[in-house]
Amino acid sequence: MAHVVQKLGLFISVLLLQSQPGHAQSDGGDAFEFFQEEAKVTTASRRAQTINEIPMAVDIITKEEIKASGATTLWDLMRFRVGMDVLDGRSADGNRGIVSVRGFPQSFAANLQVLVDGRSVYSAHDDGVAWDQLPIPLQDIDRIEIIRGPNAALYGTGAALGVINILTKKPDGQAALAMDQRVGNRDFLQSYEAVDAAIGKVLAHVSYAYRTQEGNPQASTGREANDFLNKQTFNVRTETALPNHTNLSLFAGGTWSNIGLPITQGGRGDLNHHFEMLKIAHEFSEESTIEISGSRKDDENHYTPFASNIPVQIRDLQYDADILHHLAWWDQRLNTTYGLSYRHVESQSLQQFPGDHSPSAEFYRGYVQQTYRPLKRLTLQGAAALESTTLSGLQPSYQMSSIFALVPEQTLRMSYSVSHTVHDLFPLFAQFPNPPTVLQGNPNLPPYKVTSYEVGYHGDYADRHLSFDTSLFYTQINHFHTLVPVAVTYNPFLLTLQFQDYDKAIARGIESEVKYHFTSARWVYLNYTYESITDIAGDAGLRTQNTPAHKLNFGGATDLGGGFSASTNMGYKSRYLITNESIGTAAVHAYWRLDARLAYLWPWYKDAELYVAGQNLLQAQHLEFTDGLAVPRTYQGGISIKFGAVR
């Protein structure tokens, strides 16, 4: 099912017009009709879903936007997007970025599924994603698809608030060498090298990146905090065309980081991550394709969390196997995708799980998605999944949606869904002494249950240069957990805190965005998000008030002539209160943030570019999270050179 949305990224270039019979060929409005009609014959299986065909709120970050952003981190790519909550924030256990969709920003945002080339990187240990540990140099990313709204029926546990799908560039077999070197203030140094080649039928892309930077300043003193980063990333992807319309893809990579932990005085962490994935796709016919994949990921972290200075060693293992079949039938009016998936997760830690040391869980899931177009203007979509886990038994997820085309290129969408997310292993099984407290897991925690209603509108105007999208959503999340004191001893003093089912929250809001693309290299955008969150427990900072009510972003990119190009992104967040259970609560004042990039293409060699980029340029520093760190103004200069075919 993930692949329906994976193909979405093609919408940038594979938008097919609706047929409008009965007009003359020379009518400008019908200029594409004939080619579209004929394209159906030859490209049916590769037909992309357009934004107008997706019953959910979707945002796509293209590689042009990635390059123009000048961002240095994965999370900054999503900072100025509609409906997103992105913070620069350090957790006690080494996470460095906070990304959430439709509210609830936390160090590890539960209920947000993140995929890299279809592979889940959602951590079963931490209920979220360690963003800086993802083994993807930004230069390797082809696009990022952000789907706001529940998708557990399609993606399984962890996708109740949305899905972020990061797709890397596919090797095309043309020999190429690319380099990107960047230096900046705060001892920033980044080096990226990549090679593309074809070895027989195997098309390969291999990249390596190194990054180092000093820590962010302490908010109180302005001095550099213990927040340094040294990181190496290795990434390889190969594509092999086998006989009979079969394709074999291999993905592998890793990240090796040495970081400072600002929450712990003098603390350090060694975070090592690597993964492997094999994917086989076979096309039986233009209407029938099957995809089989298997993957493994291995995270090994050593760090000193909290204030206890007790070194912790954790190893998380995850194995996934997935098979899906996509079938288009009845003259493309019915599209069916169904599949089975299996996941094994295991967390090994002598310190956090002193009992059996390695709690594990198995997930078995079957799912089906059916799209039916009863009328030319109406598409109905239903999805259902049944997931069985060794943690919480059998749980269903389902989703119903419809798309109504008001007129060509303008659609109204409505959806309703119920999703479940199983809690991570730590709150279920932890027995972690962290004097003067002991953190105790609770195997009886019920899964999160997320119920969501959404209506939206998408319209394309002015020959598709202008697009407008708006969504109105209402989401209820049950079974938030929190740490509750259950026992105390006084000699020595030891407070036992247990995770318990605790809270229910409701988020409602509106997201609107307008974009105008003059060309593929020149665009402007404006988006606004309003969110209001209430909860039963009234946990200010943890649930309520931790999401800025108003977020406004605007910006654009343009060619300036003479080889120069420029881009800016400007964002505003109203005040919010944010809590981390391990660190504390901070009140964050409203702030503006400006990121910009200026680039110059060498006139004598078009594949070489000099650039300067800056982040948070309006202020020397500002607070975003409760980690005691300020986000400083940063700027870099760099050079990007490519030899051979440009990817």
């Binding site: 990224g9 093609l10 940038i12 270039s13 594979v14 938008l15 097919l16 017009l17 047929s19 019979p21 009965g22 007009h23 003359a24 060929q25 020379s26 009518d27 400008g28 019908d30 200029a31 594409f32 009709e33 004939f34 080619f35 579209q36 009609e37 004929e38 394209a39 159906k40 014959v41 030859t42 490209t43 590769r46 042009e64 082809d142 095309d172 020959d463 598709r464 240069h465 003059f518 060309t519 593929s520 290299a521 060619d559 078009k606 075919a645 440009v646 990817r647």
Partner: protein, 299 residues
């Protein structure tokens, strides 16, 4: 009383009707199969009717299924779906198909005559017209995806010497490759041509190439006049109506057994559509006599 119809009159009508019947019996039945009732296929059908004056049985696949015609019939298919439908049936008689830029039936073994009418005029004719429009044309980048377009470039080497135009073939696997390929073309071509490749021509890809050409100040050539309305510089094309007329002519030849093998027919009529403002933006000065000869001029 004089009879209402004299004997001689009856004889005359008898002989006349016998003659007509014989002549009808001699002409093969033509069955036109259309992918749908969309305007391009209907226009082609009208062209066919004008040329092939005998009654034509028409099947529109959007409304009814293809039924096997009687033995000896000639089937004319307009549209890729129609062509595939007919070819995949057990019909073994002559098939003439057109308006199917993404379909290539010649690889499928069959015994009957199979004639493809190409959607665009022969490449030599197209290049000749573009060279007339743009005498400075030396390097022409051709964007394409579909296999069927490969046949179109078989005479590429010969054309280079004939017209002094170097064809830069830019084949993409998918439309995802388009931005990269356009970047690679910066400063390396005098114009860009989108041939009639159904896999390639979408509103988005068209807009991307059009904007690229505007930024680079080079002409953008397309395979239909409708796309010239949308801002392309010019098109050398054959109208759907003319494609239908060509199908009718071929049907006559098949009927007369003048065509018995499998073959590809390139239209010999090349209409020209010119967008004057787009031409001006690309720095192209169109001579007045060419504008006067153009079949369509968009201000």
């Amino acid at each position: 009383m004089k009879p209402f119809l004299s004997l001689n009159t009856l004889k005359f009508f008898f002989l006349l009707s016998t003659g007509i019947a014989c002549s009808i019996a001699h002409a093969e039945e033509v069955v036109a199969v259309l992918s749908s009732d969309a305007a391009p296929y209907e226009e082609a059908l009208n062209g066919l009717r004008e040329t092939y004056s005998q009654p034509i049985v028409t099947i529109r696949l959007a409304r009814e299924a293809f039924k096997l015609p009687r033995d000896g019939a000639i089937v004319v298919a307009f549209g890729g779906k129609a062509a595939l439908e007919v070819a995949s049936s057990s019909f073994q008689g002559p098939i003439i198909y057109g308006l199917a830029p993404g379909v290539k039936l010649h690889t499928q073994p069959r015994s009957g005559t199979l004639v493809k009418i190409h959607t665009s005029p022969a490449i030599a004719l197209v290049l000749k017209r573009y060279k007339e429009l743009q005498p400075s044309l030396h390097r022409l980048a051709v964007l394409w995806i579909g296999d069927s377009i490969a046949d179109y470039f078989e005479q590429k080497e010969q054309l280079q010497t004939s017209f002094g135009v170097e064809l830069i073939s830019v084949r993409m696997k998918t439309l995802d490759d388009l931005p990269t390929q356009l970047r690679n073309l910066q400063g390396k071509t005098d114009a860009i041509w989108m041939p009639p490749d159904a896999s390639l021509i979408t509103p988005q890809s068209f807009a991307a190439v059009r904007e690229f050409c505007r930024a680079q100040h080079i002409p953008f050539y397309v395979p239909s006049d409708g796309l010239v309305d949308k801002g392309a510089t010019a098109a050398v094309y054959t109208s759907f109506h003319d494609l239908g007329r060509i199908a009718g002519s071929v049907a006559k030849k098949v009927d007369a057994r003048d065509v018995t093998d499998s073959t590809v027919v390139f239209p010999d009529k090349a209409s020209i559509a010119i967008n004057v403002s787009a031409a001006a933006q690309s720095g192209l000065k169109i001579p007045t006599e060419i504008l006067q000869k153009a079949d369509k001029v968009v201000p």
